[in-house]
């Protein structure tokens, strides 16, 4: 095979030349950033396929048992769900500002915006906790002594709640992972690991966080608003 080796300085003795955030396997920062970004987009594609299975099952049973889904949905707290929606969307905004601050290399701003995002994420989880607790108190957790006393077919309403918990639960797991990652990012920001040249982890996490937000934006109307707004 005809191969000529270009003299691109990357013998091992040239080690000191590149910053520690440039990984060995890449030739330059452009390549590294593009790879990281493509990796995150691909990962989000897998997440779409992952949640897609849930959405498919949900669609099939909703069309089959629409009335039960309406009944089940009416018992969900639209206010809390709506509040959480606002909380998550706001956290996406603060996250976007965090990325912008990283672009500009403003460490204090990054910390402020990441911190706010973290607080909002935690708020989301707290609200979720109260919602779940309410379900527990009213025996609305499938498989755990599920009891439905209002009108409607308890069997298929249990199915609705099954999907409710699976989908919001899986989403909540992703929020928890996000919380962990924000903390990790905050630590590294404090350690001055990022500059205006290198902030890809913050940007790529931003992508992940927007995705988590997007999933919720679908979940909220599909679970809480079936059959229209209600009291």
């Amino acid at each position: 095979m005809s191969v000529s080796m270009e003299v691109t300085p990357h013998g091992h003795d040239e080690h000191a030349e590149h910053p520690e955030y440039r990984r060995h396997q890449f030739d330059d920062m452009d390549q590294q950033n593009e790879a990281a970004s493509l990796g995150m987009w691909l990962f989000m594609l897998t997440e779409v396929m992952f949640f897609g299975g849930f959405f498919l099952g949900y669609s099939i049973y909703r069309s089959e048992y629409y009335d039960s889904f309406v009944n089940g949905s009416h018992h969900l707290a639209v206010f809390l769900g709506g509040l959480n929606t606002v909380v998550l969307i706001t956290s996406s905004v603060t996250m976007a500002f965090a990325v912008r601050a990283a672009q500009l290399g403003k460490k204090n701003h990054i910390i402020a915006f990441l911190g706010t995002t973290l607080l909002l994420a935690c708020m989301f989880l707290v609200v979720k906790f109260f919602e779940y607790k309410d379900k527990w108190d009213h025996h609305l957790i499938p498989g755990m002594d599920f009891t439905w006393t209002d009108p409607g077919d308890p069997k298929t309403i249990q199915l609705f709640y099954g999907f409710y918990f699976c989908m919001t639960g899986m989403h909540g797991l992703h929020v928890i992972v996000g919380v962990g990652l924000i903390i990790w990012l905050l630590v590294r920001v404090k350690q001055n690991k990022f500059t205006s040249e290198y902030y890809a982890p913050i940007e790529n996490f931003g992508l992940y966080w927007h995705f988590v937000d997007l999933i919720w934006i679908f979940l909220f109307p599909l679970l809480y608003l079936i059959g229209g707004l209600h009291e």
């Binding site: 270009e6 396997q25 949640f51």
Partner: protein, 556 residues
């Protein structure tokens, strides 16, 4: 004629002084490695272990089936045996096999990269594999699971007494190993090709790995969520798949096969990539129809997502949906046929040698063609009514998965072993094993086509006496096959200490991986190569140079 001779003389080679195997020696340096070559070898050892385990289950099955009645096992034990055989072979061996071992080791070398895009993620993928496989071992220790590897509901969700949640959990975890590997490979191939290496200059093995990665990334998450739903249903019984609670057991089948059909293309596409490399090298001829083979790989990956319903023709699916799936399945057969014809055209007017990798490649063409053609019987709806869930299906998928994918895996192992280790294996023994495997395989599985069309259902512990003869043939073949598989294990291990040094390019093949020493240096290429030529440039004479010459890589 062996490729190793030149002018009647087998050149003497030495191991290179420094390479990736002897760069560091501690266990920690292996278990925390971020070198894609070492990760590939970690996978090689792990999946070989699980191949032996899966093979043991197979041996137990064939031993029991040598007689029509239940002599060896009780019904529950038999059902557990075939379930574990399927789970181990598919999830713990076949799906990782070529991508995790050869995709990891060879692909970055082929594209002139220093490593994969995300080496830490790569190592994490291996640990996920180990964790998932460990869960599988634990499942077995607790008595296994008896649902079939397909986990059909409501048997698996409600009625089975096996460890369904554990087994599904194992598959779930290992699925993420697959997803992350695929993601890693896609980014590597998109972003880390050497300058000058455009898409249509890449070796076909890379096309195969890329197409496979597409499927891994898009398909596996769906089976992951399906397994979650199954585990939730099993644990909490909320009714997703239970008709008495309003659920639909057929929904499980749709969700399951949406991944598991593309999964079979995960198992075959890398193998087809290997065959392209081997046929080119051992015909010393460029691949005929390169673009067609490359595009066929992508076509199979994409089309493969739209055919899952051919597993459900008699499962209660609508006739019209069935017709759509049957039509698309017939379509997906065509790119595979195109590849077979292109390989044959490559051999035409080549300079063909019969080294072991080539024997496996020729074996692949024969066995995969049978497997693929018998798939057509299953895709034809009127025929499928009769042969669905019979031994005809069992024979079909073993022809493509063992005759096809494992032949390709062995071809890859024999082709790249010198690159991995710097050692040659004894050619006489390797050819003998190849023949034994070919003979044993056909004896094991061809009778199963016959007994299947005669009506023997699959997953049967006992069967009508009139079918004993065909089953005995099959079990006899399995014995030959088993011995055939063990022989390479022995001589590969032997070669590590006592095999002749191979030199950098014992097969005189094209491809950037052969430019480096065997074994390669720890950091692959001292300087990033620039690629100017077409792939498979066998028009010129290729050498297996002496070790000294590889230090300075400014040469042809």
């Amino acid at each position: 004629m062996s490729t190793l001779e030149s002018n009647g003389v087998v050149a003497e080679h030495r191991m290179p002084r420094d390479h990736f195997l002897n760069a560091t020696h501690t266990v920690k340096s292996w278990l925390l490695t971020m070198d894609h070559k070492r990760v590939g070898l970690l996978y090689l050892v792990s999946i070989s272990l699980f191949f032996l385990i899966g093979g043991t289950f197979a041996g137990i099955i064939r031993l029991e089936l040598a007689t029509p009645q239940a002599d060896l096992l009780e019904a529950d034990q038999y059902n557990t045996a075939f379930t574990m055989h399927g789970i181990v072979m598919i999830f713990f061996f076949l799906i990782p096999s070529i991508p995790a071992v050869f995709g990891n080791f060879v692909m970055p070398l082929m594209i002139g990269a220093k490593d994969v895009a995300f080496p830490k993620l790569n190592l994490a993928s291996w640990y996920l594999y180990i964790f998932g496989a460990a869960l599988g071992v634990i499942t077995t220790l607790f008595g296994g699971v008896d649902t079939g590897w397909t986990f059909y509901t409501p048997y698996s969700s409600t009625y089975s007494n096996g460890n369904v949640i554990l087994a599904a959990g194992a598959a779930f975890v290992i699925g993420f190993s697959s997803i992350l590997t695929g993601l890693n490979f896609m980014v590597t191939i998109h972003k880390m090709r050497a300058p000058g290496l455009s898409w249509f200059k890449m070796p076909l093995f890379v096309w195969g790995i890329y197409s496979t990665s597409l499927i891994m990334v898009l398909g596996t998450p769906v089976v992951a969520i399906t397994l979650v739903l199954l585990m939730v249903e099993r644990g909490l019984h909320i009714g997703i798949f239970d008709p008495s609670l309003g659920g639909d057991p057929i929904l499980f089948q749709h969700l399951f096969w949406f991944y598991s059909h593309p999964a079979v293309y995960i198992m075959i596409l890398p193998g087809m990539g290997v065959i392209s490399e081997v046929i080119g090298a051992f015909s010393r001829k460029r691949i005929f129809g390169y673009e067609f083979i490359a595009m066929s790989s992508v076509a199979i990956a994409v089309l493969g997502f739209f055919v899952w319903g051919h597993h459900l023709f008699v499962a209660g699916q609508s006739i019209y949906a069935g017709m759509v799936f049957s039509f698309l399945t017939m379509l997906v057969a065509v790119p595979s046929a195109i590849k077979v014809f292109n390989w044959m055209a490559t051999i035409y007017k080549g300079s063909v040698s019969y080294d072991t990798p080539m024997l496996y490649a020729l074996s692949f063409i024969f066995l995969f063609s049978i497997g693929g053609l018998t798939g057509v019987f299953l895709a034809v709806m009127g025929l499928d009514i009769h042969v669905h869930d019979t031994y005809f299906v069992v024979a079909h998928f073993h022809y493509v998965m063992v005759g096809g994918a494992i032949s390709a895996y062995l071809a890859a192992l024999h082709f790249w072993w010198p690159k991995f280790t710097g050692r040659m294996y004894p050619e006489g023994w390797s050819r003998f094993a190849a023949f034994m495997i070919f003979a044993g395989f056909n004896l094991t599985f061809f009778p199963q086509f016959i007994v299947g069309y005669l009506g023997m259902p699959r997953r049967y512990h006992v069967y009508p006496e009139e079918w004993q003869f065909l089953n005995i043939l099959s079990s006899a073949g399995a014995t030959v096959l088993a011995v055939g598989f063990v022989i390479p294990l022995i001589y590969f291990l032997w070669s590590l200490k006592s095999g002749k040094a191979s030199g950098p390019n014992p097969w005189r093949a094209t491809g950037l991986e052969w430019v480096l020493s065997s074994p390669p240096p720890e950091h692959n290429f001292p300087k990033t190569p620039i690629v100017r030529e077409e792939p498979y440039n066998y028009g010129k004479i290729i050498d297996n140079p002496a070790e000294e010459e590889t230090e300075d890589v400014e040469h042809v």
